[in-house]
Symmetry: C2
Subunit: 223 residues, 2 copies
C-alpha cells in the first residue's frame, strides 16, 4: 500500500488534506509540531483528528522556533493584528513550512513513504511566501536530491491538494469526506478549551469560508 506523511496542525486545512490523501488511497502517518506557538489547543485537536480521519499513526515533534523569534505566533511581545494586512503579516514564522517539510521528509524516508501532504493554500493564504506553488515545487526538487531514497531512485512527491481551492471549496470538499469541522481549531489565539477569538486573520478567513460555502459555522467561539 502506498504511504504518505501528512502535516497536521489541528486546523481546518490540514485535516482536509488528510481526508483527501486517504481518499487517494494512501496509508497516512500524521505529523504535528510543538514549535513554541501561542497555544496547545490545536495540538490536542490534531491528535484526535488524526484518529477520527483514518491515519494509522500520529507523531509529535518538539522544536522550539521561538528561539529564533521573528513572529507574532512564537513571540508573545509581538501583537496579533485584527485588521487585514496587505504585506506579509507578523504572524509569518520564518521558514516554518521549510522546517516542517524537512522533518516530514526524514520521517517519510524512514517509513519508505512516497508522498508528503501539506495543507497550504495560495488563495486564502494570508500572504505567506511558503504557501505558494513555487515553494512547493522547489521543495519537491530538493527532496529528490536530499535523501538516500532519492539517490536510490525512489521519487518523492509533495502534494498540496488545497493550493488552488478557496476556503469555501475546502470546507465543501471536507464536508463531503465526512470531516467534523467543529473539532478543528484555526484561531491564532484559541483559549485552552480550543474556543476561537473570532477576530484574528485566521478566524475571519474561516468564517467567510463557511458563509460562502453555504454551511453553518460549527466553530466554538469565546463569548
Amino acid at each position: 500500500m502506498k504511504r504518505a506523511v501528512v502535516l497536521l496542525s489541528g486546523g481546518l486545512d490540514s485535516v482536509t488534506a488528510l481526508a483527501m490523501a486517504r481518499e487517494q488511497g494512501f496509508e497516512c502517518y500524521t505529523l504535528s509540531f510543538n514549535y513554541g506557538q501561542r497555544h496547545h489547543a490545536e495540538l490536542n485537536a490534531a491528535k484526535s483528528l488524526s484518529g477520527q480521519n483514518g491515519a494509522v499513526a500520529h507523531k509529535f515533534i518538539d522544536i522550539d522556533l521561538s528561539a529564533i523569534g521573528g513572529s507574532a505566533l512564537t513571540d508573545q511581545s509581538i501583537a496579533l493584528p485584527e485588521q487585514y494586512e496587505e504585506a506579509i503579516p507578523v504572524t509569518y514564522v520564518p521558514a516554518r513550512n521549510t522546517v516542517f517539510l524537512s522533518i516530514a521528509l526524514g520521517w517519510a524516508e524512514v517509513l519508505s513513504a512516497q508522498a508528503i501532504f501539506v495543507g497550504v493554500n495560495a488563495v486564502d493564504y494570508s500572504g505567506y511566501p511558503d504557501c505558494r506553488p513555487e515553494f512547493i515545487a522547489a521543495f519537491e526538487q530538493l527532496a529528490n536530491v536530499a535523501t538516500k531514497a532519492g539517490v536510490e531512485g525512489q521519487k518523492m512527491t509533495i502534494h498540496a491538494p488545497l493550493m488552488r481551492m478557496t476556503k469555501a471549496d475546502i470546507i465543501q470538499e471536507g464536508t463531503r469526506l465526512g470531516i467534523d469541522y467543529s473539532q478543528t481549531i484555526s484561531c491564532y489565539q484559541a483559549d485552552s478549551d480550543g474556543r476561537a477569538c473570532g477576530k484574528c486573520d485566521s478566524c475571519r478567513f474561516r468564517q467567510r469560508g463557511f458563509k460562502q460555502a453555504g454551511l453553518e459555522d460549527p466553530t466554538r467561539y469565546i463569548k
Copy 2:
C-alpha cells in the same frame, strides 16, 4: 557589515567553515543542534569553538530527530560500523542537513543575514546524499522562494566552502587560519570528556587527513 549564519557541530569541518566565513568578512552567528545524537561532548565543543573563532553569537536548538529514527547516530539499537561501507552508511540521519539548513534559514531571515555557511564535503563525505553539490544548489533555490526576505528580493546564498576540499586541504586551511583542532570533536562515539574512539568512519577520515596534511594529529583518544 554582511552577516552569515554558520552551522557548527563542534567537529573539524564546521569550525573551518566558520573561520573561512570570518576571513571573507562576514559577521558570524553560529547555530548548533541537540538532535538526539549519541553524545553531547561535541555540543560543548561547539560553544567554545564559536567564541574562540570570532562568532558574535551562538545558539543551540533542541530537536529530537531520534523520534523519527532510521540512523545509528540517533538510535542506540543500531550498531556503528568499524569497516568502511561502499553504500550510504547507517550513520546517515534521514534529512538531517535539510532540517538544519531550514532552521538556519529561519534565523538568517530574522537576522537579515545574506548567507548560510555549512561545512559539508563531497570528497571525504562518507557517502551522505545531503553533502553533495546538487543538494546545496537545490537548497539555495528553495531558500530564495521560501522566505519573506526572498519574496522581497533579498538574495540568500548557501556557502559550502569545503565541498571540493580533501580532509588534508581542510586541515591545512584551518591551521593557516589559526584553528586549534585539539578542541574539535569528530568522533561518532566520543566519551563524555570528548575523547575519540579512533575506530569509527569519522575518526579514520580525520586521522588520514592529518597524516596526508603532514601535521601532527592533536586529537585526544580513549586509551
